[in-house]
């Protein structure tokens, strides 16, 4: 899924990574944007940022991904970063039950601070830790179905499903956005100007298309 040169793109989508401290947000991001993983990465303070472009359905989509600090204390600061985000990945650690239990709170956080049409994907990370798994894949699936989220299990360490997770959420956002643009009518849609961020319009009664599947290759 090679991108074009970094500054050429049809769409720019802002996506945020949230979830408890230590679930692997920064490594998921570095795996996706730089194909790097480090067991010794430092804790994220405030927010950090990386980008990568992918091609989906013939369009180049540049993802501007904001990695946030997981500790509760930082919420007051980090919630400002939800503004303008069209996608969110909520991560938990499949080997730590509590990080899964806290997904509910992260979801509420998004409902309170993010755009109401933000596309959300639930990500069970560290699926390489099969021997100490504390959250079954079924639990992840059923939670995401109940809450109409997409779902995937990943391993940033083994690079399992990382590409898939991001490309699925970006494609989903793209479809939503282009559908809105078609509905708006006119002679096709204009790609956004450089640096311009896409915001999801407010289709109050538009049925949202959410898929739910899991695919950790175990």
């Amino acid at each position: 899924m090679a991108g074009r040169s970094d500054d050429e793109y049809d769409y720019l989508f802002k996506v945020v990574l949230i979830g408890d401290s230590g679930v692997g947000k920064s490594n998921l991001l570095s795996r996706f944007t730089r194909n790097e993983f480090s067991l010794e990465s430092k804790t994220t303070i405030g927010v950090e940022f990386a980008t990568r472009s992918i091609v989906t359905e013939g369009k180049t989509i540049k993802a501007q991904i904001w990695d946030t600090a997981g500790q509760e204390r930082y919420r007051a600061i980090t919630s400002a970063y939800y503004r303008g985000a069209v996608g969110a990945l909520i991560l938990y650690d499949i080997a730590k039950k509590m990080t899964f239990e806290n997904v509910e709170r992260w979801l509420k956080e998004l409902r309170d601070h993010a755009d109401r049409n933000i596309v959300i994907m639930l990500v069970g990370n560290k699926c390489d830790l099969k021997h100490i798994r504390a959250v079954s894949e079924e639990e992840g699936t059923s939670f995401s179905e109940r809450n109409k989220l997409s779902f995937i299990e990943t391993s940033a360490l083994e690079a399992t499903n990382v590409e898939d997770a991001f490309s699925r959420i970006l494609t989903e956002i793209y479809r939503l956005v282009s559908q809105q643009q078609l509905e708006k009518g006119g002679t096709g849609f204009q790609p956004p100007a450089e640096g311009e961020k896409i915001t999801l319009k407010n289709p109050a009664d538009e049925p949202k298309k959410k898929s739910s599947s899991s695919c950790c290759s175990t």
Partner: protein, 457 residues
């Protein structure tokens, strides 16, 4: 004060030690030459010196002005640094000074070598400075704190740093006769706190949450520094942070405090190691061999109290919603508008918020932005400044930003964020940070009486 001797005024000591690379560089009288040794606060003299080459813009080019310097003569310092092993306990092969691996850092190295002259005349001056400080610390009655601050501002060395930090942070009394007793009482008091909080048999769910959060962060603390991979050292960090958090519930543990405790643990372990090294144990490699349990405990207790003293000066950095940081980020932006309006306007045009990059600068006091050993040097000055961590630090942040102004003004939003969250300071030397500090000092002196600076106090 002649600027022509500036190039001769630099004396550098580089030590290569096993386990990690340390560079100890001493600028003998850079600050005298920069006109800021006299801390009487006369703005006119700073402005005059600014014309001579240490104003914000020319600070960057100052090293190039020293091209004619004689070849560097590194002075090999006795190996006194901590030698640590990895978790398996295998011996570490001595690590040679890391060679820069790309062209940019080659250039940086070249630049450093060019500026790193040491004139033989100045060796004398250096030892004079050292003996003054050592002499001061050796005073048998009462140490004049102002004098100590003046000397420490210019940067300490491994031998003088532990005691100086303790004095500057008010952990040790200036009165020599009371020190031993104070140390005993403080360390005992910490031991009791550990018994009460750490060894308590039943933690509340909140306390367990604090423990979990700290435990998640400890392995991610200073991962570039081998010392912090050592199990015993990690346990020291963990206990200090846990006890501090429980004793200070208004803020509790906040991520980033782990970065702030690490310089203390490093400096005070080094002190304990030196104390024992006199007994001829330099060659021992594992932590158990290098330190007695008591020594580890002393380093831990001293670190705890010094961290406590530091955090006391910046309490509102870490209380709910971190108002102290938010206020300073706003001040930083205002201040950059004053001293570098073009940069501020550019950042604004690119929609970059100061909070997006400088939050971490405040929260971790730049520990993430500069090499560890250089930050230890920066803290020498912070502790010698009035309100060093609460006010002076903000000017250092402004100086850091201004230092990269030329590059930053060419960047778009994305480039800016990427650059600012990973500043190219890996190969910086003591000279680089001392220029930042002098810039910050000038600004602090000039603007200190202004209302908006007072607001920070």
């Amino acid at each position: 004060m002649e600027t022509s001797v500036e190039s001769e005024s630099r004396r550098r000591m580089v030590s290569k030690v096993p386990g990690h690379v340390r560079r100890i560089e001493v600028d003998v009288n850079w600050f005298e030459l920069a006109g800021i040794a006299d801390r009487s606060g006369k703005v006119a003299s700073y402005q005059c010196d600014a014309d001579a080459g240490i104003a914000s813009d020319s600070a960057k080019s100052a090293p190039e002005g020293l091209d004619d310097a004689a070849p560097i003569q590194p002075v090999q310092k006795p190996v006194t640094s901590l030698v640590v092993t990895d978790e398996e306990g295998a011996d570490q092969a001595p690590v040679q000074a890391q060679e820069p691996d790309d062209q940019e850092s080659q250039h940086e190295l070249g630049r450093r070598l060019e500026v790193g002259d040491s004139g033989a005349d100045h060796t004398e001056q250096a030892s004079e400075l050292k003996s003054t400080l050592a002499g001061l610390l050796g005073e048998e009655t009462t140490i004049e704190l102002d004098k100590l601050k003046r000397l420490a501002w210019k940067g300490l060395e491994d031998e003088t740093r532990p005691m100086t930090w303790k004095l500057l942070l008010n952990y040790l009394p200036v009165n020599a006769s009371r020190r031993e007793e104070t140390l005993y009482m403080k360390r005992t008091s910490y031991r009791h706190a550990v018994d009460q909080y750490w060894k308590a048999s039943d933690w509340s769910p909140d306390e367990e949450a604090v423990f979990r959060q700290i435990s998640v962060d400890i392995p991610r603390t200073c991962p570039d520094h081998k010392l912090f991979h050592v199990r015993q050292v990690q346990e020291i960090l963990q206990r200090i942070l846990f006890v501090w958090a429980l004793k200070h519930p208004a803020s509790g543990y906040v991520q980033g405090m782990n970065d702030l405790v690490s310089p203390f643990v490093y400096v005070f372990l080094l002190e304990q190691y030196e104390a024992k090294a006199e007994g001829g144990l330099l060659s021992r490699r594992s932590v158990e061999d290098a330190f007695s349990e008591e020594q580890l405990f002393y380093a831990e207790a001293d670190s705890y109290w010094c961290l406590t003293a530091l955090l006391e000066t910046i309490q509102d950095y870490f209380t709910f919603s971190q108002p102290g940081i938010q206020k300073r980020v706003a001040y930083l932006e205002d201040f950059v508008q004053r001293v570098d309006p073009a940069l501020r306007e550019h950042l604004q045009k690119e929609n970059l918020q100061f909070l997006q990059f400088s939050f971490r600068w405040l929260n971790c006091l730049l520990m993430r932005e500069l090499p560890f050993e250089l930050m230890v040097r920066v803290w020498d000055t912070y502790m010698s400044e009035p309100d060093g961590f609460a006010v002076f630090h903000v000017y250092v942040c402004a100086a850091l930003l201004a230092r990269f102004s030329d590059e930053l003004r060419e960047m778009d939003f994305q480039e800016l964020v990427m650059f600012l969250q990973n500043l190219p300071t890996k190969n910086w030397t003591r000279n680089d940070v001392e220029m930042l500090l002098s810039q910050a000092f000038m600004w602090r002196t000039i603007f200190d009486d202004k209302q908006f600076s007072k607001d920070l106090k």
